[in-house]
Symmetry: D2
Subunit: 370 residues, 4 copies
């Protein structure tokens, strides 16, 4: 459906037109290599010099070879903050030199899904960065439809924190909190305390739910979740979780069960703990089908939702950062320089042992920079 961007030749004679980038060279082969800088291809494009980027769970999936759309030679990455260095004449909303947030979703603004606010299914965009076109884990990146795929950022804020708004915060908020219908007084369970689950946790608090129960086998992450606002944490595994949730909810189960893992067992758990009239909001990226117990659920008046993030809430999240109601920096555990990109991948790839949530990679990694 989406057109694959052709990969340019590996080297370039003009040094000023070269840059370093993290290139996918096939399963298990990330490569930090020199590549020609991107150029404008359409009047609605902008070229952004990336100053901070980060690594997403889906980048690890790509490196395992799980995402067939991504072909060898592709520059990875769909998150980042940078500076506009060049723009097509059709770009009216930004100036060269302006600092911007890059959305993981490219939106043309004109097609029917975009007109409905479902940018994730933009007929010309959607999730294309670091997927079917070159991405943000590079010194420069080309952003199509820049006017509606970049966002102005408030001055004086930590770039690393703002990078959390490229993907994981709108993902947790839109696919978890909004689709789940979290409301004042709700009881919420979030299954999975990884970065996206924690993003759901932070943004669920916009709605003052009565209880937020964080569920994860990793006790460290549950602990982190408690400090980020979870009212309860469950790190016990297996069959004891559902009874524990019911005990916390007067036997009813939760109004909203947010799946933030992408696995069969966790989706089954959500089915066990959702109350009649409740919602299972799926955020997880699933690699295979799951069992749905309709023989129990058909009569329980529940709702199951899925969503690829639209980033329609990015302006609201930026305002929340500005007013300090949202503190994305709490999700950043490790900071690296651009020349440490492969080390950053290693750290994030071994997140549990490294106690890593989000690792950011920045052009100026010196003290106080990020």
């Amino acid at each position: 459906m989406k057109t694959q961007e052709k990969t340019p030749p590996r080297t370039t004679s003009d040094d000023r037109a070269a840059m370093k980038a993290l290139v996918y060279r096939g399963p298990g082969k990330p490569s930090w290599e020199e590549r020609p800088r991107p150029r404008l291809r359409a009047s609605t494009d902008a070229i952004v010099r990336v100053t901070t980027t980060t690594i997403c769970g889906s980048d690890l999936h790509i490196l395992k070879g799980d995402v067939p759309e991504v072909v060898p030679g592709r520059i990875l990455g769909h998150e980042g903050v940078g500076i506009v260095v060049e723009k097509g004449e059709g770009v009216g909303g930004f100036k060269v030199g302006e600092k911007v947030l890059i959305s993981c979703i490219t939106s043309c603004a004109l097609c029917p899904p975009c007109r409905k606010g479902m940018y994730s299914h933009c007929e010309k965009g959607g999730w294309i960065l670091g997927c079917v076109i070159d991405g943000t884990q590079a010194e420069y990146v080309r952003i199509p439809y820049a006017d509606t795929s970049l966002y102005k950022i408030p001055a004086g804020f930590d770039e690393a924190a703002l990078t959390m708004l490229s993907d994981i915060l709108p993902t947790g908020y839109e696919a978890g909190v909004l689709n789940g219908g979290v409301a004042p007084g709700s009881t919420v369970a979030i299954v999975g305390a990884g970065p996206v689950g924690l993003a759901a946790l932070l943004t669920a608090q916009f709605y003052s739910p009565d209880k937020i129960i964080m569920i994860d086998p990793d006790q460290n992450r549950v602990q982190a979740a408690r400090s980020l606002g979870a009212t309860h944490g469950l790190s016990t595994g297996g069959d004891s979780v559902a009874p524990a949730v019911r005990e916390l909810t007067d036997g009813r189960g939760v109004d909203v069960a947010i799946e933030a893992v992408g696995a069969s067992a966790t989706f089954l758990l959500c089915q066990d703990i959702v109350a009649p009239g409740g919602t299972i909001a799926n955020i997880g990226v699933h690699g295979k089908s799951v069992e749905l117990h309709l023989e129990k659920l058909w009569s329980r008046n529940i709702r199951i939702t899925t969503r690829l993030v639209d980033t329609a809430t990015t302006p609201q999240l930026l305002k929340a950062v500005e007013s300090k109601r949202l503190k994305p920096e709490l999700l950043v555990t490790h900071r690296f320089g651009f020349d440490e990109m492969l080390k950053a991948y290693e750290t994030f790839g071994d997140a549990a042992r490294e106690k890593a949530l989000k690792v950011v990679v920045s052009t100026r990694p010196g003290p106080g920079a990020a």
Copy 2:
């Protein structure tokens, strides 16, 4: 959860206190036999003399032994129209002698689910008639919480038609149309052209969707659906259905896929034909789990809903009958007398061959009576 009503002794010495009823005597054993008339047990009860009742697909399930809550000795039936013959002092909304519609859902009006309009999960009621307490396939029935479980009916309307409002019309409307979010301009597919699927078809038209595609292997039923307002019908089986639906929807799939069968294959079909941003509204009663292709659906922004009918829309549906916007009589294909109850079961049990949709059973089956 719900308390089982004890079955009274099979016979009674007082003839005036006896009645005939369809009693479940174990799997495969319906029995048309004499039983004592029901009596008031609580001040909020009413006794209704049933003048018309009907048979539901779930009655057939019970007779197969598929519904463990139903114990031998239970009078079946949860649909009907009748006349109030006795009432407790706490019943203020109806008079003795008044003709009423019996809702398949008993609602106490006071518990938290009832206060939220989710009568199906009433803490003291819900689906209890013909399930854990004696039902409507009898000359008399006791209705608990009569004030909020009975509805006044408009004078001069066909009782058989009104009986369709006890269960199948609110079921098709609430679980299919409302949960599905059918709206002006929507494309809708209804999988299964049985009584409930056709009830969804009739009530979907309240919202003027752009297309309603009826899908059923039985060509007769598809034909019936076309005459009831379906814009398209598909009776081809198997793998050719999904491509045909896509062709009818410019390759997008449907905005709303309504599952009105309760089987694995039909639920899978709904997953195949739902458009990004769309809804699968399950009405079907499922006996086992189904496969959910989250590996495809996680990113498609869809919604899956389930619902046991609340009958919260019964007043609206009654008004629609009165104004002739809704013609439930179109669903009634066979009419029997009370003494033909077992024959009615046989006919409904062999619906495809008999070309039966809904069969009604009435006390006065003479010409022009129903």
Copy 3:
């Protein structure tokens, strides 16, 4: 706020670059005169040769001098159908030679209000055609942001009918029906049976309300409304209307009262007839303030809405025309040629006597043409 387009000199030496247009020359002075054809000014503009246009009530207001934004020299008109004859390089959605519907609302698609679907408040567009830039009552018109301000039209449909979709049908639908929350079973009153009131009447029927009571002092219009689907009509004036509405609604009043006049008396009537929990949806263009009886309404749980049409529903309305669920041609009473533009104004200006609803003006007015 919106920038006024400068008016070019009245004549032009190049005949091929000239056209005829209806120009506002000050209060009471419409002029059918020669003007230079419009040219592209931005890459997102298109030039459309107008084949059918129509006159709106607001054009009459302008001619009375009631709309100060409109300066002498302005070409009027914000409705029409035509053919794209030229387009900027930034216009990707249409081809030269394609037939299009012109929306009365210009939408840039990129600004925050556009991203929320509130195109009426587009920071660069909104209602500008025939107001602050030259409009459609001319042989040619320049359409800014063509990709999101023009719509493809279905082949084989009456142009005059489609012209009703430029303004009045989305206005009646969005400001009246959608803002009013018309729903299956609702009782609706529409105050004012002019073109926009009738547009609300036609589109209210998408939702199968229980009753639609049309109120207008002109008995002819009420009669027309009855034939277009109103279930009741009231042409009695003054104090007898509110009691009559209450009688039709069991003393409750209506769920939705749609004001389609723009006057004090009709807005007061809406306050009198709205039921507790109901909505007053204002469509009318008001020239002065009205009295709001909050001393009665503060406790009645009502909602009052206003809206400048967004034309966000235009694609849906086009589909409804295509499927013949909506028949806009029913609103067209008079058809004129372009050279009869002033006569068309006269007829529309004396609508009651002429029994005129909408008058259309077309380049090819011969028999069978429109």
Copy 4:
């Protein structure tokens, strides 16, 4: 509409059947006098011994003679906490001896408005306490439809604080916050920092709006509002307020303007400061009509709402008190004993000078009691 309860003779011979009550003896004449204790009149009634009550702004209105439904002899008061001392056999939800919150709204649960959740317009209840039947400013009160007009209260919480949930907190929340559609990121202005405006302020924070601008001429109250969570306060009067609000909102105005005064000037101010697409949520009790500037607002896509509190959110608010997300005790400034009832009225009647928000009256006013 509502039936007036007859007032019993002033004295009684049986001492054990007597009680003290605040009786309305005509305009300007509150009287603290002896009255017979109330008795059960219907099986759904309960008798509650009032342990804490409070005075509402509407009580002051009644005493001015502004509320014609209230006849001399009526015991005032519609707020309170107490203990069930007697109940009809139809009351199943409460036990004698149980501590309860009295809702200011009586709801039968069975009528159509109650079934829709609009208890304020209950056909048999609504606001009747201290209005058309005797109220809570007495040692005992009869509560009709006790099952759905009383609420269980969490143990160990300050009774005075809980009394805020009888009326003002659900009023501010339902009529202001929910009707206003306050959402994460909203800009909100609350006009009027009296008890109900502050109740709106406390509950608006459930939704994490971006800004809450509190507007009141009384600098003390604005100061109090700041300490309760308002992000901005404006105590400047007259024409400077609207410009100040626009300056705080980038010239747009607010998304939600909450009117919490009930006067013409404040309602006009709301019209001045609401942004296009925004909402004016009226809470104020208005004594006369106001001017509505439809000549400006007709095209601004706004919504105006009114609401008599339904107290449908009381269970949610009780949970919020329990989890300490809501601290109603912050609204209580003065505490009196029952025998100081008239003094409490005096204090509340001179609220500005006394710096009074809510005054509570309790049976056990000793230290630590309330």
